[in-house]
Amino acid sequence: MASLRNDPGAANNRTQIEFRGVYKNYKNGTHALKDFNLKINRGEFVFVVGPSGAGKSTFMKLIMREEKLSAGEITVSGYKLSKIRRRQIPQLRRTMGIVFQDFRLIPTMTVAQNVAFPMHVVGASGQEIRKRVAYALNLVGLANKARSMPNELSGGEQQRVGLARALINNPSLIIADEPTGNVDPQMSYEIVDLLTEINRRGTTVVMVTHEHQLVRDFNRRVVMIENGTVVADNAGDFVPPAPVPAQEEKGGERE
């Protein structure tokens, strides 16, 4: 496995995600990405915008390795996705937290159980899980809803549960696919505020959205995709603030 990774622990390796000359063609003949190049450093907050059909979803799916790339190379958290083996995919996904537009909470589990779920996947102890779940729910402001069922919550609250679940394993990367798409406008700002707070603690955040007002109000790096390629990127204009050392994260340190 070591040979497939770029040694993510190396001090000079600041790259979280890198797309180099990536092509993605679907079986139905769609060319979703064409010579796609993008580099996202650790600790960055990036909005990915573009019209529907531009390739935003493909971009996200390739990062999660839900889809295989057709040509080029993608590196995510040190994994080279052109060479990744099937059994390494779970490991790759554990380096990231995913926030979905449709929340994807398990309806038969309580809020706390939903948030704890990824910790069970990595085999954390009961004590670790309780501590970390309390911390994550506190962070998203839902400590009092731990025992509620997802259907008892509003859309915004459900998305905050999704956010707590995404950050529960203390990932170095959070990818959010239209996280505000099913949430009322005021709550959208709270969600992005939370993502900003998570980013401030050192986690890379990539958020796909089509809400341009939101993007304008949060002054962050914006990557615009059209016809499967990057057409605008204000990376040079924006210098991300230095991440503050995360104190509370210690309890959730993995492996």
Partner: protein, 307 residues
């Protein structure tokens, strides 16, 4: 996957049985129905076999010894016959008591009897013989032949017809019940697979989330396997219980209907039945879950929505 995950996954399996109780109920129902029919077939087979066993007890081979052998030599030969393969038991019938029995059976008057005794002048025209029970009736022919070949055996008498009939009935019962069970097993497997498929379909969201947060295939599969095995075991215990109820009624009715024939007691059947049911339940539950989930494990994220 470590011990903690193992405990968690087994717990999840138990929980899933309850959370998806409607589907669990359906799966158990289907399994119980199949197991009950199989159980009834097995009980019938056992009882028919016992009944035929009773019949063949009465089916006796009579071996007569040469007149050249004296009583002691004939008795020694009878003991030798008892040790031959496929001979269950042997009972020596000395000619003296046999003649007595014969005379008794003729219901003679005192005078007639005296006349007979005088005529025989101490001679006994009957041969020494043995009553022989055969173990395996299907090998009857070869055993008879061997008996005839024994030096000192004058003749062998048996009812070839009834022996053959019992053997034939046994064979038909065995083949029919085995065929019935295999058929039911296939039907049960198909129905249970379908039930599990529906269960999984309704839980594709759960599976997609598991995969998204980095669960390995084994981790995704485990609770479903535990669930399948549990459903199989529940069904096994329930079927045995139900069959016990049905059987108890049948024993009472049979005692009234079948004169003198008592059914095999349930306690003799309960262990093989429970064993068979548990085995079937666990295998079907395990394999059914495994095969159906394989399809879902190959899917990724958004493909689940298209299912």
């Amino acid at each position: 996957m470590n011990a903690r995950s193992g405990r968690y996954l087994i717990g999840e399996g138990f929980k899933n049985v309850w959370v998806n109780r409607l589907m669990s109920f359906a799966s158990i129902g289907v399994l119980v129905a199949c197991m009950l029919i199989m159980g009834v077939a097995m009980c019938l087979t056992q009882n028919i076999n016992k009944y035929l066993g009773n019949l063949s007890e009465q089916d006796v081979v009579l071996v007569y010894y040469s007149e050249e052998l004296d009583d002691a030599a004939a008795e020694a030969l009878s003991a030798k016959v008892g040790k031959m393969p496929n001979v269950a038991s042997v009972k020596f019938l000395p000619k003296g008591p046999a003649l007595e029995g014969l005379l008794e059976g003729m219901e003679l008057t005192e005078d007639q009897r005296a006349l007979f005794t005088e005529y025989l002048e101490g001679d006994n025209p009957l041969p020494n013989g043995s009553e022989v029970h055969i173990k395996d009736l299907t090998k009857m022919e070869s055993t008879i032949k061997k008996l005839k070949d024994v030096k000192g055996v004058a003749s062998v008498r048996y009812d070839a017809d009834i022996t053959k009939r019992i053997t034939d009935i046994r064979r038909v019962v065995t083949v029919v019940s085995a065929g019935l069970m295999i058929l039911l097993l296939i039907i049960a497997a198909v129905i249970v697979c379908n039930t599990i498929r529906i269960t999984m379909f309704s839980r594709k969201l759960e599976i997609s989330i598991m995969k998204a947060v980095g669960a390995t295939d084994r981790f995704v599969r485990a609770p479903f396997l535990v669930e399948g095995v549990l459903l199989g075991l529940f069904a096994a215990v329930l079927s045995t219980g139900l069959l016990y109820g049905v059987y108890t009624v049948a024993v009472v009715k049979a005692a009234e209907a079948l004169d003198g024939f008592t059914l095999v007691p349930f306690r003799e059947l309960v262990l093989p039945l429970l064993g068979m049911f548990a085995l079937i339940g666990v295998i079907i539950g395990f394999l059914g879950s495994r095969f159906t989930i394989a399809k879902y494990l190959r899917k990724e994220g958004s493909e689940f929505r298209a299912l």
